[in-house]
Subunit: 167 residues, 2 copies
């Protein structure tokens, strides 16, 4: 997937630009350090092939010899959400801002908000995104099974999304 | 280590109290959802055997079949820091509030602030904590090598800590 390759490249580029040190630190590139500011920049827009509405990604960690996951901050503008998808080895979401939903196939959607942590099991069809009128931002820690960490499915229909927002 | 066992127990207990769902969601237990509030509660005080000053832990994820790491939010009050330590398979820090330092043995301390991500390599002696006059909060994702994820060493002396704060 092109955007996963791109985010790996971005993280590697950031890593090589840092002063010599065994550890890699991704510095907050903006001056956004006060309590009221967003934790991370919005980043690049995510593709319409996997996301409905405007969603953005700031990559934070690429899979490496210690971290068998990728990590990024995903911003969903109001109304934006992922397509249905699953992860072969699960995913952890840390909601850092706003309000949204997490829904597993066949189950009621769960409202999620800042400070919630979602531990998504392996091979479970689900979607997540912002509420219809409120943005949502989460950090996603997505585990790898070999070289794969996601299987994309169909979009979440307007009908289903609207029903969730009315529940 | 008792507090690691305790945090596992806390996370498991939280998990069993949630409505039936394959996924485990740790809900923000407070009403702290607005932009200005802390992301997570402070949690329980961490032991003086590994932390200087007042540091606290809210456990978020315990190691499980998918997540080969533990994750928690650590709050360091001003002046508080870890002892020197290392991780057999590294650790990722996400600074969510305040200002502090990360220092590897033999290297200059790096100031860290909200929005910074630190990818700590394996078997590297280091410490992290708040600045002398400002608290710091970070999420820590600590990878496991078998059943171990940390090796604790000596405390960071007042002399060394003060020197870092004056640099």
């Amino acid at each position: 997937m092109r955007y996963f390759i791109k985010l790996t490249a971005i993280v590697l580029i950031i890593g090589t630009l840092l002063p010599g040190s065994a550890c890699k630190t991704t510095k907050n590139p903006t001056k956004m350090t006060d309590q009221n500011s967003a934790l991370f920049p919005k980043g690049d827009r995510l593709p319409d092939s996997y996301f409905t509405g405007n969603a953005f990604l700031t990559p934070l960690i690429a899979k490496d010899k210690n971290n068998d996951f990728m990590m990024g901050s995903v911003t969903f503008e109001a109304g934006a959400r992922t397509f249905w998808h699953s992860h072969p080895r699960g995913q952890v979401l840390i909601v850092t801002e706003g309000n949204g939903f997490y829904q597993e196939k066949g189950k009621t959607a769960q409202p999620i908000k800042k400070g919630d942590v979602v531990n998504i099991p392996e091979n479970t069809e689900h979607w997540h995104g912002a509420a219809a009128k409120t943005k949502m931002v989460h950090i996603a820690i997505t585990n790898y099974e070999g070289e794969t960490n996601v299987v994309w499915l169909k979009s979440v229909s307007e009908e289903d999304y609207n029903a969730v927002n009315k529940q």
